[in-house]
Amino acid sequence: MPMKLLENPTVKATVRDAVLIVVGCAAFGLAFNGLRPSGGIPVVQREEYDLLVPCPDISAEVDPLEPTDPRLGAERTLVIDAREAEAFAAWHHASARNAVYDFLDPLPEETVREIARSGAAMVAVYGDGADPDTGRELAKEIASKGIRNVYFVRGGAPALRERSTAR
């Protein structure tokens, strides 16, 4: 049936033109990607992308991130401030969003969903920098929900603030 359809000159011409458009676009797209001033992206990706999709792999261990780490300012990094709203209002990292950590109450499901949907490649959480650090605890809780690439900022908000003041 499809072969018979292709015998129709109009259908044949339509399919032929569509194929030519795809070939032309592919050639142009590849050339444009190669000539991008930023170098474009590799045509064949070899390293797995870090995706923030909830998965059953539950690991509550999170690695620390130094307050000077440049990834904190990256576009695809989701920075979360685990402190109380008042402390957040007084000072917070430029791109941070507030998700107050409570030692007794579990993290709201909606917050986890928001993080998963954010499209971020990495989640950096900072808290009050005390012992125990609310940032570290929140990071662990987020990681335990199956979100990957979650880190806590060593020293929390005081360390981050000190670094921003020093600059």
Binding site: T14, A18, I21, C25, F32, R46, Y49, S118, G119
Partner: protein, 166 residues
């Protein structure tokens, strides 16, 4: 049915449909061309394509969207453009269905102007894509003499050779 299909009024109904679809696709390709890495991540999030094809898709697809959008808008090679748009909509709809069936909680990745929080995939997204697919199919099957460059070029084309008298 044949009479309905050959009704000349389809060209006028298809015109706003074409403009609408063109606007959607031109809007959709913009951020993908500007930031192919972000789009590659969106493609990868669907977890459907093998890793080796993710970037190729992210590099080529936006240009097909741009070309078909422009062609639909100006009425140049309208039916091949509509065929490609319908094809893309079929692929997008399938990808969305698989992602929804897997229970992935993710952004659609259709338009960057909408943040991930504002554009999560849902059954509504699926219905929206199905409507766009139907619109593309309408242009493909019923807009036989599209208003635009195709019709203009058809008029200016070489005269049809005289048929020999039987």
């Amino acid at each position: 049915m044949k009479r309905f299909a050959s009704w000349p009024g389809h060209a006028w109904i298809a015109l706003p449909v074409r403009v609408y679809l063109a606007a959607i696709f031109l809007l959709a390709c913009y951020h993908k061309i500007l930031d192919p890495h972000a789009f590659a991540l969106d493609v990868a999030t669907y977890q459907i394509l093998p890793l080796a094809l993710v970037n190729l898709m992210a590099i080529v697809l936006p240009w097909i969207e741009l070309a078909t959008g422009v062609m639909l808008l100006v009425g140049l090679r309208t039916r091949p453009a509509a065929l490609l748009i319908a094809g893309m909509m079929v692929v997008f709809t399938m990808a969305l269905s698989i992602a929804l069936a897997k229970g992935l909680d993710m952004s659609c990745g259709c338009f960057a102007s909408q943040g991930a929080d504002e554009d999560p995939i849902s059954w509504t997204t699926l219905v929206r894509d199905a409507v766009w697919l139907a619109m593309a199919a309408y242009v493909l099957f019923f807009d036989k003499r599209p208003l635009g460059l195709d019709r203009l070029l058809e008029r200016r084309g070489p005269p049809v050779a005289a048929q020999p008298n039987p």
